[in-house]
């Protein structure tokens, strides 16, 4: 220390100055350090006093070139007249796990809703899940449900100006059927004639996929399947159509590294992709040439956040659309005059899958159904936002079977059944679920208690998502698995994937390892005809089997609750949980 020139005093002083200086300079440096965020101007104030005033005085006033509402009704039509209101922003909330850089071929999660904003399919559902023309202005199905012909719209252009044609459709389907591309849609597409050979590499063309002319595509299936197009689920045979001219020279095996996959900025949809700021949001801007009409809202941000934060953002007015508001919060928000709560009848089923190989006696499973007071649980967990179901065949309207065993709460009967089955009440059964399902977490202790009263010991063991998937699906080793979701109400055939003998996990989706030949036959019959009256009978019998055997003990179908700001107009809600299916018609006050 004697060699030191400066004194300790000066040193400590210097330290304090350095610390303060660093903090300040950090603050300054990090100010403009995120320039990638939010390029443009025009704030969306919570109280739109000064903002481009809504309908009235369309002539004078704002820079807003909103031809849309108040303007001249005579020149109203078509995309050309209506221009997106500059500065109009809609913010949609999504949970944090979105990864938009995961390719549209492989995406299996919430990213699908992101791609729905920028890409189109051949047909798309409206709010009632009725298939409407999208890129295909009409389609027909042959009487035996094997031939699907799509007539494509003319005069649709990609956002880079190139025309959209049948070649894009052919390219997209071929790409998805290329094994090295790793598309998750491939399994459903294998139903097309010749697809298997193409997929395995023994054919260079897909014989069932034909381009009849620049605007017509025909798909022929191997087996009749009348519900092929209605399965507009995450693994849908009706794909997002990708631009051939951008991807045609891409190596299918290296597709994930292709710049287009990382930044899909050539698209046909209502919005165009702008940027993704990791962990924060995905930004989109309106496509003025959208073939269904130019969107009225200039920008869309899909914000990623945890549910409690989203709720706060929504209440504050920072978020315009909130997906999956919990029933409890919805109750509280109903009294808020700036927000609307929109419950949609859900398509999924809240259920517990049993390992039928470990628990082959259906009396045990039936006892389980009787032991639980499902009606009360709906009141407690869902606050009434849901309906009891008695099988997984719960829709559409004509496929709703209510004269099945209601399994009304009856602990005495449960005990009797367990006794009949010789159930050892000292045995403990393990139930697992993927963490994060708030409904399950609410219901679990109550269920455990009710089961204990009939002599059934349940051990609760939630796992995080990858571990859950390993235990239940990829290397099955579970007793009971609890989950919710799916799109069962779309078409009764959706259930077939989960119960058919050929679909046991890990090969397919049948986690219960249930096998019933009669049920398989019924499902095949249901797929083979377009006659709804015939299908209704077939599925009635299938539902009865599921209701009697309860391979999964099903409980309810919960409503999906959306929270929407009252500023947002043009929303058409039905059963389609993809609320922004008509986003080009939305406008802000």
């Amino acid at each position: 220390m004697s060699a030191q020139k400066f004194s300790r005093r000066a040193f400590i002083r210097g330290l304090a100055v350095a610390a303060g200086g660093t903090a300040l300079s950090l603050a300054a440096a990090c100010g403009p350090a995120a320039p990638t965020v939010a390029p443009t101007q025009a704030p969306p104030p919570p109280k739109p006093t000064t903002a481009p005033a809504a309908a009235p005085a369309a002539t004078s006033a704002p820079p807003a070139a909103t031809a849309a509402p108040a303007a001249n009704p005579t020149t109203a039509p078509a995309a050309a007249a209506a221009v997106a209101k500059p500065g109009s922003v809609v913010q949609i909330g999504r949970r944090s796990e979105i990864n938009p850089l995961w390719s549209p071929l492989k995406t299996a999660g919430g990213e699908v809703q992101i791609f729905d904003l920028i890409f189109n399919r051949l047909i798309a559902p409206d709010e009632k899940w009725t298939m409407q023309p999208d890129l295909a202005e009409k389609f027909d199905v042959s009487a035996d449900a094997t031939v699907y012909t799509f007539n494509l719209r003319r005069n649709v252009t990609w956002s880079d100006g190139k025309p959209f044609t049948a070649r894009d459709v052919m390219f997209t389907y071929r790409l998805n059927l290329t094994k090295s591309a790793g598309s998750r849609q491939a399994p459903r597409l294998l139903q097309i004639k010749g697809a298997k050979d193409f997929y395995e590499g023994t054919a260079t063309e897909v014989s069932g996929l034909q381009m009849l002319d620049e605007n017509t595509v025909r798909m022929t299936l191997e087996q009749p399947n009348v519900s092929w197009v209605s399965q507009l689920t995450h693994s849908s045979p009706i794909l997002f159509i990708l631009p051939e001219h951008v991807l045609k020279d891409a190596d299918p095996a290296q597709l994930d590294n292709h710049p287009f996959i990382k930044k899909p900025d050539v698209s046909t949809g209502p919005y165009q992709y702008v940027q993704f700021v990791a962990d924060q949001f995905v930004e989109f801007k309106a496509n003025p040439n959208y073939f269904k009409g130019a969107p009225k809202i200039e920008k869309v941000f899909v914000r990623l956040a945890e549910p409690p934060t989203q709720l706060a953002q929504f209440e504050r007015g920072e978020l315009d659309v909130m997906y999956k508001v919990t029933a409890k919060d919805a109750e509280r928000l109903k009294s808020n005059t700036n927000l609307s709560i929109i419950p949609l009848q859900g398509l999924g089923v809240f259920q517990i899958a049993w390992n039928n190989e470990r628990f082959p006696d259906k009396r045990v499973r039936q006892a389980f159904m009787y032991a639980i007071d499902r009606e009360s649980l709906i009141k407690v967990v869902l606050r009434g936002e849901g309906r009891l179901v008695h099988s997984t065949i719960i829709g559409p309207e004509w496929a709703n079977y209510n004269d099945l065993n209601q399994y009304k709460y009856d602990p005495a009967k449960a005990r009797a059944l367990l006794q009949d089955a010789g159930w050892d009440s000292g045995k403990t059964v393990n139930i697992t679920w993927s963490k994060g399902f708030a409904d399950i977490e609410l219901a679990a202790p109550i269920v455990q208690q009710q089961l204990k009263e009939v002599g059934f010991n349940l051990e609760l063991a939630p796992l995080d998502s990858p571990a859950y998937i390993k235990k239940v699906v990829s290397e099955p080793d579970f007793d009971l698995a609890w989950f919710s979701g799916g799109v069962y109400a779309l078409d009764p055939d959706i259930s077939s994937a989960y119960y058919e003998c050929a679909n046991w996990t890990p090969r397919g989706a049948n986690t219960t390892h249930y096998c019933n030949k009669e049920l398989d036959t019924l499902f095949a019959q249901g797929r083979a005809t377009t006659d709804t009256t015939k299908r209704k009978d077939v599925y009635a019998r299938a539902a009865a089997i599921l209701n009697e055997d309860v391979p999964t003990t099903f409980w309810w179908s919960e409503n999906i609750i959306y929270g929407v700001s009252k500023r947002l107009k043009g929303i058409k809600a039905g059963t389609n949980d993809y609320l922004w299916w008509n986003i080009q018609e939305w406008s802000l006050d």
């Binding site: 030191q4 300790r8 330290l15 610390a19 660093t22 903090a23 950090l26 603050a27 300054a28 990090c30 100010g31 403009p32 995120a34 965020v37 939010a38 443009t40 101007q41 025009a42 704030p43 922003v89 796990e97 850089l101 492989k106 299996a108 999660g109 919430g110 998750r184 399994p187 995450h234 693994s235 990382k262 700021v277 990791a278 962990d279 949001f281 920008k299 941000f301 914000r303 990623l304 956040a305 945890e306 409690p308 934060t309 706060a312 953002q313 209440e315 504050r316 998502s465 990858p466 571990a467 859950y468 998937i469 390993k470 990829s474 989950f483 994937a497 996990t505 090969r507 397919g508 989706a509």
Partner: protein, 321 residues
């Protein structure tokens, strides 16, 4: 001193290597893998096992562990931390884009904690057992016992949702040109939560350190020389009291880069903590290794820094020769 420094730096290398091996093995022991993590559990069953196996092969996950470690290490030696399995972005870039926001958040919080904690600690010590002392101590206990998510959400609801004083979350307002006032407005709530969490520790350390110094003989000597209380405090007692704080602050330095997971999640702040948790949940091995490595380096360096500074500040400490 130089020899000491050199020795410390050299020994950091095997330590980091050991940390990396240990971490690599451990994170791979967790069940599941990134491919499984990317898929909605309800939809997973629709995919066949071949599809999953193909994806795993693409990501290089089917090779034995030592091989994968060797590949990772080799890449690291070339200065490449690899690519995130989930986002396909380079790990280095992902960490880099979060360093700024993390430093800003954590640095400001630490500053707030220092600015509140030290003066309060000193005052508490001087006026021991006074009202101020009790208030500071009890306040400190409350602050440290309140879970950060509770405090965070509470503040959001009161100040943002109900009173409309501040934004709820994020770093900037969306759709608007970024500006420093906007950034500062967004910084207030998360810094309050974190700052309040760190203040009690600094306050207590300062308080006990000052009390310790005030008992020393040289303080009595200074007083008996006739110096006023203020002069005694500032010129003699305070500087010596602040020295142990260097250690405390040095130990908080790794947090500057480590981030605060829960606070970042609640406030949607793009920080390292949230990145790390996402990497864990997604079994994103390269990203996780990158974060662990950066954090471990930070810990080693800040410990070294704290030790060196201590040696400068306190002439009784000598290292090496």
């Amino acid at each position: 001193m130089q020899r000491y420094l050199l020795r410390r730096l050299l020994i950091s290398v095997p330590i980091l290597l050991g940390v990396s091996i240990f971490s690599f093995v451990f994170i791979h022991l967790a069940p599941g893998d990134p491919v499984e993590a990317l898929i909605d559990p309800v939809m997973r069953a629709d995919l066949g096992p071949e599809w999953v196996a193909q994806r795993r092969a693409e990501l290089g996950l089917n090779q034995p562990l030592p091989v994968r470690y060797a590949i990772w290490l080799g890449q690291l030696a070339e200065g490449n931390m690899g690519f995130s399995l989930i986002s396909r972005q380079p790990v280095g870039a992902q960490i880099q884009e979060r360093l700024g926001p993390t430093l800003l958040l954590m640095g400001t919080s630490l500053l707030v904690a220092i600015v509140i904690g030290i003066p309060l600690g000193v005052l508490s010590a001087i006026r021991r057992y006074s009202i101020l002392d009790y208030v500071a101590t009890i306040g400190g206990f409350v602050a440290i016992s309140t879970p950060s998510f509770f405090l965070g959400l509470g503040l959001i609801y009161v100040l943002s949702v109900n009173l409309h004083l501040l934004p709820t979350s994020g770093m900037f307002t969306l759709g608007v040109e970024p500006s420093v006032p906007d950034l500062l407005a967004h910084l207030v709530l998360p810094v309050t939560v974190l700052g309040l969490g760190q203040t009690p520790q600094i306050l207590r350390y300062t308080r006990s350190s000052v009390l310790d110094v005030l008992r020393q003989e040289y303080v009595t000597t200074a007083r008996s020389k006739g110096l006023s209380d203020d002069v005694v405090m500032v010129r003699h007692a305070l500087r010596n009291a602040l020295i142990p704080l260097i250690t405390v602050l040095g130990l908080s330095l790794p947090n500057l880069l480590g981030g605060a997971v829960i606070t970042e999640q609640i406030f949607q702040w793009p920080g390292m903590g949230w990145l790390a948790v996402r990497a864990v949940n997604g079994r994103d091995y390269p990203l996780l290794m990158g974060v662990i490595l950066v954090t471990a380096t930070m810990v080693l360096l800040s410990n070294l820094l704290a030790d060196i500074l201590y040696a400068y500040a306190d002439p009784r400490i000598r290292y090496g020769d």
